[in-house]
């Protein structure tokens, strides 16, 4: 090369395909990454590899038959999906639920929140490179799945909360075993803090990375721990309490930028850790005062709501889920749309990951905690 050529090095942008099958993409997500060396300039997520026609099924099945399909949308928090669908149908039918049923539903929902956050934290540690917290998280999650199996027989997809009630009453020693689990689990959170939260490698990799500012967050519809990590205390359980959440005393943790800036990946992880502690608080309060009653008394024989529409919101482990149901007066819905929280959380991904390096992209994706089942429906 002549002297003139050496000063001009032609560099081209490379398009890298992080394909649908990849161990770090938390499911079948395809990312088209335009990189300049190691620095990312643009990311385009491509979805649809798990599109299972949930909404078309809902237009052909009766309201009771849809419940197992809602399970499979967000398979890591299926009690939340069941519960949100049941609340939407009960609003359409305008029926009252016995108090025992409400208490059981809240106990189950908060246990599910702990289980889902454990997987999120474990998988996030795995993405960053820490393998031990993943095995610890799975070990503790197995104990929660044992409790669920005692209750309804299934480990992952429960079909437990029906519109109008629950499918089975509490097992004889359920309250005792749950209290045992809470006594075992509360000191374990300190162990997770010791191994991950203050770990210098973890902090270096996640602090100041992938910052979601509050304006960008609300504009793109981000909800859940991802938005609370940016300092905004929006939690549907406190703002618009559904079920009997207004009778419980708990706080809403928000990110404060303790290790970096407000709204970085570390804050989102920290919000999930503290939310597990708040769930334990709610559980202890609920377990102490379950009233007696019949859990099947309010389940309607025929679910046939009158003509009308409803948009009902619920706070799952990932954010705000919304069910928009149009009823034509028959026993099958005319149109059912599920607004999934991970869909909107993922839409902000391309905004916040420009300018970072390839390995940071994986960290940011892990901190958003997406589940492809509910994105693709």
């Amino acid at each position: 090369m002549s002297n003139q050529d050496k000063s001009i090095i032609k560099a081209e942008e490379m398009v890298l395909n992080m394909g649908p099958q990849h161990p770090s993409t938390h499911g079948v997500l395809r990312l088209k990454i335009h990189t300049d060396g190691e620095v990312v300039s643009k990311i385009e997520p491509i979805m649809g590899y798990l599109h299972r026609c949930f909404e078309k099924h809902c237009e052909n099945l009766s309201y009771e038959q849809i419940v197992p399909y809602t399970d499979r949308c967000d398979y890591l928090a299926s009690m939340h999906m069941n519960h949100s669908y049941a609340i939407a149908v009960e609003k359409l039918l305008e029926i009252e639920i016995p108090e025992r049923v409400e208490y059981i539903r809240i106990i189950v929902a908060e246990l599910q929140r702990i289980a889902s956050h454990l997987v999120a934290i474990g998988a996030f540690g795995l993405d960053v490179g820490a393998i031990t917290p993943f095995t610890w998280a799975l070990r503790d999650r197995e104990r929660i799945l044992d409790l669920f199996e005692m209750l309804c027989g299934a480990r992952l997809l429960y079909n437990y909360i029906w519109p109008g009630g629950v499918s089975h009453d509490l097992a004889p020693k359920f309250v005792h075993h749950t209290n045992e689990f809470l006594d075992y689990f509360e000191p374990m959170i300190k162990e997770y803090d010791q191994i991950l939260s203050g770990n210098i490698i973890f902090v270096e990799r996640t602090a100041d990375v992938g910052i979601i500012t509050p304006e960008v967050g609300i504009n793109f519809g981000v909800t859940g721990p991802s938005l609370r990590g940016s300092g905004i205390p929006h939690d549907l359980r406190k703002d618009e309490p559904y079920s009997i959440y207004d009778k419980f005393d708990f706080d809403v943790p928000v990110g404060k930028g303790m290790m970096g800036s407000v709204g970085d990946c570390w804050d989102r992880y920290w919000v999930r850790m503290r939310e597990m502690e708040e769930s334990i608080k709610i559980l202890r309060q609920a377990l102490g005062r379950i009233p007696s009653g019949d859990v099947h008394s309010a389940i309607p024989k025929k679910v046939r709501p009158s003509k009308g529409e409803i948009y009902s919101r619920y706070e799952t482990a990932r954010g705000d889920v919304g069910f928009y149901i149009r009823s034509g007066g028959k026993n099958i819905p005319q149109r059912l749309k599920m607004r999934s929280p991970a869909f909107c959380n993922l839409s902000v991904f391309s905004e916040i990951s420009e300018g970072w390096m390839m390995s940071d992209v994986i960290t940011i994706l892990g901190s958003l905690d997406i589940v492809l089942g509910e994105i693709d429906r």
Binding site: M47, G48, H51, C53, E55, K56, E59, V216, I218, N219, F220, G221, I232, H234, D239, E309, Y311, R313, D320, G322, Y324, R326, Q334, R335, K337, R339, F343, C344, S347, V348, E351, D376, R377
Partner: protein, 166 residues
């Protein structure tokens, strides 16, 4: 800027001042029907007006009115500042197209692509207007009531019912 929560009648009175011929509201309904021609101006108004301030677009749903001609869109808005809630509906035929509101609310980007993918409603001025969940060469719009499942897709058999196994 005041922070009072407004209900649907008060919101209608505020919007009616400038846009009375383009919106429609009956007493007792919980939504406001808007014409699709000037949707962008109305959307800008409800986002920026100091009494309304709807900064959070929650969901865009597309539905079929079952007469093979009209399809509808339902927008659900919420204000994080004064906690009001609003539902707006737009009804169009196959030939009409709806202006996109992507530069006002970023969440509209993917929701509008989803509405096009499932119901076939077209949007103008969208930054990346193509299908989102189904493959790009998929024939038809699945959530329409008269959708027929294709026999074969790229050489793979798509069985219609149980007779394939029996």
């Amino acid at each position: 800027m005041d922070n009072t929560k407004l209900d649907i009648n008060q919101i209608f009175e505020i919007i009616k001042v400038d846009f009375s011929e383009l919106i429609d509201f009956t007493e007792g309904d919980n939504f406001i029907l808007v014409s699709h021609t000037k949707w962008y101006e109305i959307a800008k108004f409800i986002k920026n007006d100091s009494r309304l301030l709807f900064d959070y677009l929650m969901c865009i749903t597309s539905y079929d009115k079952e007469d093979k001609i009209t399809y509808g869109l339902a927008f659900n808005f919420k204000s994080t500042i004064n906690h009001s809630y609003l539902e707006i509906r737009i009804e169009v035929c196959d030939e009409d197209s709806v202006p996109s509101v992507t530069d006002l609310w970023g969440s509209a980007n993917w929701h509008e692509r989803g509405a096009f993918d499932m119901m076939g409603i077209k949007f103008e001025n969208h930054p990346n207007f193509k299908r989102i969940l189904l493959p790009d060469d998929w024939p038809g719009y699945p959530l329409r009531k008269d959708f027929e499942t294709p026999e074969y897709y790229r050489g793979m058999l798509v069985p219609k019912d149980k007779t394939y196994w029996e």
